[in-house]
Symmetry: C3
Subunit: 299 residues, 3 copies
């Protein structure tokens, strides 16, 4: 199954900036149309004191000169992509269990976003950016409050992209078995019914041999709860000393095959850094060629 | 405020080598002239058992075949830059508080440098390379002894580039408040009067929201002590897992604005790796384009 | 002394993938012929659950679509290189001292390799891939059992590439003195007589000033035991925060000079990532130019 969606990571959390301007992004969105990427997801629109647009609601926001949100929405409209708009992550309150404070800031932020960009034609969904692995930190309260507010502000689907706490993420000691992951996500989906429309689990934290069991499990869960299942097939490698290089093509191909067995759609974190012929990583250029060859994409 | 100076980092301490030869450096110095860089600073001429020229005074020096010091001085003369010559860092004695041993080696080293290169036209200053954040390790004794000897060997200005022990450097637990930084640098400047002519504090260890207070503080201090204030606006990012990638343009722009409010001149660590269109980092090429666009530099 | 051999690292253990396909490898092997590289070494053909060909003997192997072993052997034949075929590393049993389990899997693996590729013209040797620094973990039992089986399956020379447990590998606390390294390798060579034909010690774990003593020591040892001495002059830097960038040319030149005093042949880990003009690391392109200039190689 081909990749038809990608995250956009311009509040760079742990991925170094490519320093692209409007010209580079235009070329990239044009490429997305050519290779069949019809969906883009702003992974977060605000993070701590940063924002992709000049926000009035991000507490203590640093000065922002560029409106990347408008740029992404306009490019998506021009090149035919649907855009999911990321919410705000304080990197703080919710991680300490204070879902109420996190929700409060997010409600104002979501209102600001809806007011600034709600009429943009490409605005097709929300991406609820609080990534979690477990049923903890009052995460269902957070999902219900923020997701509900998103839908009230603009009634479009809500997407999340959680992850299993596999060994590549947590180490051998702290990894959570898949059975526990399934149990807790059964609880989470049950407790946040109607708020989460689409779920695209990340696939890079577990070992490759766990992929079949993992995909089968989340497929059963999302069917049970009426959630649309996408897959976030990561295009970087997590098991290298360099954090993070473009994925080995052999790994990506294997992961795409596994995800394609159950997911309605495959998106990736993320095309621009790790798979694009425009990437600052030369290995991404080679990955792109291999990917295009496999799926007989001619440019 | 534009960047008009850059460090040259050819005793690569924690930055991988670009493997440039004379041809690449010539192209780079030519570029510096075009973009208004009139000052280059050899960040250290000797480090542990390495040296940028075949030294007779570096203890236990490994064999050196190339005289990069002569090359840099000649290129600077040819392309109109002033060069500040870095001293020697044992990476050892002074860090254990033995400023006398560090001084002893440096005196011989400085004499050797003055004897080899003192007549070069581009030789415009000394860079005292012992970077410190605190008033500790007998740092003022070290500054007075080495800085004094530099001036005696060749009477040109002495530059230093210290740093505040901010959270990005020391972590939350060990970070030093700005108020303490100001207090200790008041002591240091007071105790090394006449030896330090120019001070360019590094700006990457503290959080962005601390920049205004930081720049105002060091501006007041240097005014009080009659020290010329430059700023070392770092062109790499310190908060990424990869140590270190080219800075996000949005961060650099913000930092240039803040530094430009107080500094007489902005230099950077360092142009060749992180901002140059000739860099081995493709993100540096994009950064350079954004920088040129902002300052309407046409090549 | 020029580099005339290189490892091939396509079970990427800690080096990010370049995502080369057959086209890129063909170009690379063609280059090897032009620059005098007559020997290629598959560093390991199987690792944990991965393999460079679709193996039936690697326990729990993940699906493999490409036969890189056949590709490397065919390219080596076409471009005139001798190929040393890497064995299997479980990354597990032998590290826990269970050399018998490691041997059992390797015997089946070696038989499979001999059966699949034994007739290939470029197949000129085995590379026994269990890298060790010490005489521990029953390493001589492992060498004798696997090396002996290799020779029985196809009687060609066996190469190993061990390393001294220097400070750059083990840190100051756990580093092993060179004298101990020599003593233990005297034991190992003595106990595995007739099984190890060629030994190419890695040269990147010790400090540069230790190189003369190191090379002299291993030269004496291999002479004593009738083992052919090659050198694995590493083309990456081990002392940078980024693990691992292309080596600084000044370091490579110094290391080549030292190794050339005793080794019959110099190979490197590894050309494709760290020295090739086709590498994803731009610093490798510059390194290649400097290397060619030094040895007057014109392409």
């Amino acid at each position: 199954m081909r990749i038809t969606g990608t995250f956009l990571d311009e509040i760079t959390h742990d991925i170094p900036s490519q320093n692209w301007g409007e010209k580079e992004w235009r070329k990239e969105f044009g490429l997305y149309r050519e290779v069949g990427i019809d969906t883009v997801v702003i992974i977060r629109a605000g993070y701590r004191d940063r924002c992709v647009f000049p926000s009035k609601t991000v507490p203590g926001a640093l000065p922002v000169k560029d409106d990347l949100a408008a740029m992404f929405l306009d490019l998506a409209e021009e090149y035919g992509q649907s855009l999911f708009f990321g919410t705000y992550d304080s990197g703080d309150h919710w991680m300490k269990g204070d879902w109420k404070k996190e929700t409060e800031v997010n409600k104002a932020f979501v209102d600001e976003v809806a007011s600034r960009y709600g009429e943009k034609k490409a605005f097709a969904g929300w991406y609820m950016c609080h990534e979690t692995a477990r049923n903890h930190l009052n995460i269902t309260d957070l999902f219900n409050a923020i997701g509900g507010h998103c839908k009230a502000a603009k009634d479009v689907p809500v997407l999340i992209s959680p992850f299993p706490m596999g060994e590549k993420q947590a180490g051998k000691e702290n990894a959570v078995p898949l059975s526990t992951t399934f149990k807790e996500w059964d609880e989470i989906f049950g407790a946040s019914s109607g708020v989460i429309d689409i779920c695209a689990f990340q696939d890079g934290q577990i070992h490759y041999h766990e992929l079949p069991e993992f995909h089968a499990g989340v497929s059963a869960l999302t069917k049970k709860h009426g959630v649309t299942l996408w897959a976030n097939v990561e295009s970087f490698d997590r098991d290298m000393p360099i954090k993070f290089p473009p994925v080995d093509w052999r790994n990506l191909r294997m992961k795409l095959e596994e995800a394609g067995k159950v997911a309605e759609k495959v998106i990736t974190f993320e095309f621009a850094h790790f798979m694009s012929p425009h990437s600052v990583w030369p290995a991404a250029h080679n990955l792109f060629r291999q990917y295009c060859e496999e799926f007989v994409i001619e440019l």
